[in-house]
Amino acid sequence: MKDLLRLKTSLTEEIEAVLNDQIRKEAHSSALYLAMASWCDRNGFDNSADHFYKQSDEERQHMLKIFKYVLDLGGTAVSPTILDVKFEFNSFREVFEEALEQEVLITQSINNIVDKCHKAKDYMTVEFMNWFLNEQKEEEYVARRALELFDVIGEEGTGRWEIDHQIPKIKYE
């Protein structure tokens, strides 16, 4: 009897499900960053707004990368529904705290996927997810550095204005 299951897709049901879940998380990140961009724009932090617009685009690209991978391997990629995106924040600092928290959540989620792939001996997906692990180094670095600016510069006086001007200069090299 032919192995129709394997001929259809290289992904197991479990791995396909966790990848679709990651697609949803990346889409949620993209929407959350867009909400942060909106908040920054509304409150006069133009550079930070630009930073979050870029972050939002990046997260969408990450989502599409996984989306296409699932399809390339014969799986079914599900276009996610995004609900309950937080769009109000108590302070400028809270925006960046949430951004870092979101990146930590994504890193943990990717680690869990890699862990499941090892257990399922799906080394193709492990190899694919390695790109995301490397990307998370940069994402967490940028988010952490941005938050550190609040302590280094301070928020008093023109502090927040200065922080907003330093945000685009953060680079991971």
């Binding site: 009897m1 032919k2 192995d3 129709l4 299951l5 394997r6 259809k8």
Partner: protein, 120 residues
């Protein structure tokens, strides 16, 4: 079962219960689900779509709901010409049949990997 009387295609039995049977056709690369007095052909994708739809039906909720419309469920997989109109008991039976078939397909996959592909 009705399927064997009607077809000449060589079909391999994947899984059988008292309520029905799932066959695989290696020639057509598809499955036949013989259930509820009908044998329906499903492409690989449609077969798994059917399983997802059937799995989504919440039997306890269906049993607890007093509305008459909740006595039956219409299962209509996309891109498939057929649909099922099933009672609670029939859905339970179809769930069991498809779940069993899935396990057998996974077992076949493991056997092919361990016994055929690895020794070549």
């Amino acid at each position: 079962m009705i399927l064997k009387e009607k077809r000449n295609t060589i079909l391999e039995e994947v899984f059988r219960t008292e309520a029905g049977c799932v066959y695989q056709s290696d020639v057509e690369n598809c499955f036949y689900v013989d259930f509820g007095g009908r044998a329906i052909k499903f492409s690989i994708l449609c077969f798994f779509r059917l399983k997802t739809l059937v799995d989504k039906v919440n039997l306890p909720d269906m049993a607890a709901c007093p509305e008459r419309s909740s006595d039956i469920e219409i299962i209509s997989p996309c891109a498939c010409e057929h649909c099922y109109v099933l009672t609670l008991a029939e859905i339970a039976a179809l769930k069991e049949l498809l779940a069993g078939a899935k396990v057998m397909l996974e077992l076949n996959s493991i056997l092919k990997e361990r016994l055929c592909r690895l020794v070549k």
